[in-house]
Symmetry: C3
Subunit: 211 residues, 3 copies
């Protein structure tokens, strides 16, 4: 019996988007690291952690060790090259339109959240845990980056970011339950995450806060 295809099986496209998202996250991390007066090594650590921390946390949590980011050299290579480039050519990176980076980041967020949730289901996690691990995959790198820089993680205090990741993962799982083929459920979840994130950025949406 052939298994239904999943988003992760569209290997080439997913890998390209995954690495592009890692590069964007690495570049963001470099900016934060330089603002905190880290040295060249520290900058590369933050780039690495921001780019790959979420996926590594996912793989450790679901018991898939060594994590993929440590088995496939293209992941650390992408993070470190993007980090080194952002460190060395900071002013050129600043010339990249912010909107382009936010768009690529949102696309990568959708992919990470949905693929993280899929991988979790494969490993026997409950549907609720799969959504949560999808969220961890999407935002874990940014959380570790902020913790290393001695800050409360930005994702906990503002913006619709993690919420978009969770909504995408949840949409994928609900769609599967409703009988949508796996690959379409994944695309639906990733697109919803992407759209929610982009709308929230452009309209300045925020989650409620205690008074």
């Amino acid at each position: 019996v052939a298994k239904r295809p999943t988003l992760r099986q569209a290997k080439g496209l997913v890998l390209a988007l995954d690495l592009a998202g890692a590069a964007v996250a690495a570049q963001e991390g470099v900016g934060a690291a330089m603002a905190n007066r880290l040295d060249a090594f520290g900058v590369l650590v933050i780039a690495f952690v921001a780019a790959l921390g979420g996926g590594i946390a996912r793989d450790v949590l679901i018991g898939q060790t060594p994590p993929r980011a440590l088995r496939d050299w293209r992941y650390p290579a992408t993070a470190l090259v993007a980090g080194a480039a952002a460190f060395a050519f900071g002013q050129w990176v600043q010339a990249i339109p912010q909107a382009a980076l936010i768009t690529l980041d949102a696309a990568a967020l959708g992919l990470l959240a949905v693929a993280g949730a899929e991988k979790s289901l494969d490993q026997g996690l409950s549907w609720l845990a799969a959504i949560l691990v999808g969220g961890v995959t999407g935002v874990g790198g940014g959380v570790m980056r902020d913790m290393l820089l001695d800050k409360i993680p930005a994702v906990l205090t503002r913006d619709i970011y993690a919420t978009a990741a969770l909504a995408g993962a949840a949409t994928m799982i609900v769609a599967r339950r409703l009988g949508v083929p796996n690959v379409w459920a994944a695309i639906l979840g990733a697109v919803l995450c992407f759209a929610l994130r982009m709308v929230a950025v452009n309209l300045g949406w925020q989650l409620p806060r205690a008074v």
Copy 2:
């Protein structure tokens, strides 16, 4: 040959106390998160981490992945429902007598410490490591909560809390060595941890500090 029963095999009671302890920890986490101006998502993350971080760390350390908190949906559901309730009905939660929360928390601490140490022994950890993992199970969630909120973990600076967890786990292991049946060793350890914590709270005991 029938194996001797352990505390973890008294499934129903243990699960109920485990979930109650998670709910108390989630509620405490929400209070700390709201004081730090987190948004609704951040509050739920802190609730989740405070409630389940210790058990997740235990399972990752002893190689039991995916962690139980991610395989059994009742754990995240309890943490998130308790967190959401504390966020939405903060003033009602404040009406719960502090003494009741402290008592429940101490009971859960004893259970977590002893069950964590038992699980570690089953996985081939040394007796010293089993005590330490019992302690991690008991206090890991609070440590992660404080690290995310950019504070030195409270458990490292004051009160007899982690010490009670370690004492409970150690008592259980010593009692087993002395030939006490496993289930009674576990009860002895959990009760000792609970009693030590309650006495310390009520008498204001503190550990020594360097001068």
Copy 3:
């Protein structure tokens, strides 16, 4: 077919240096913990984490759980005894010449980095990931210590420390590729890390920083 010997197979010497390095790291951790007004329990936690956190992170990342530091009681015992001694006899520890501690620490750094990279290769990690895990093994404990004490990890902001660890791991891997027997490749890497660290300390070398 006999496998080539590796540095880790020179068991006795490696264990002794490993434990000595753990004791030095524990003692350093105690100093930092006492400066932050931690209580006796907190001091021991920092000693434990500083001494063994890097090796535990390595084993979790490469899927060798439970970590060796939790299976072999000599590791936690060394960390806790060294930590307790440094807490109780602080003024005597201060009498140990700083140069002796730095030298022992540099030797342990070389050993940890090279052995961590070797263990990673054995587990099927890519060469790039093996270098990175070697670095994590060397500096992970110090990073966790600083994060618990609510500081940006020192290793990210100054000194040639992590860089020496990475250079040692990389040297070992390049030497292997060039056909150097495993044991000599390991010694070469560890010695290079040690020498680079000692020269950097004595000449006050720093990595470049963004302006």
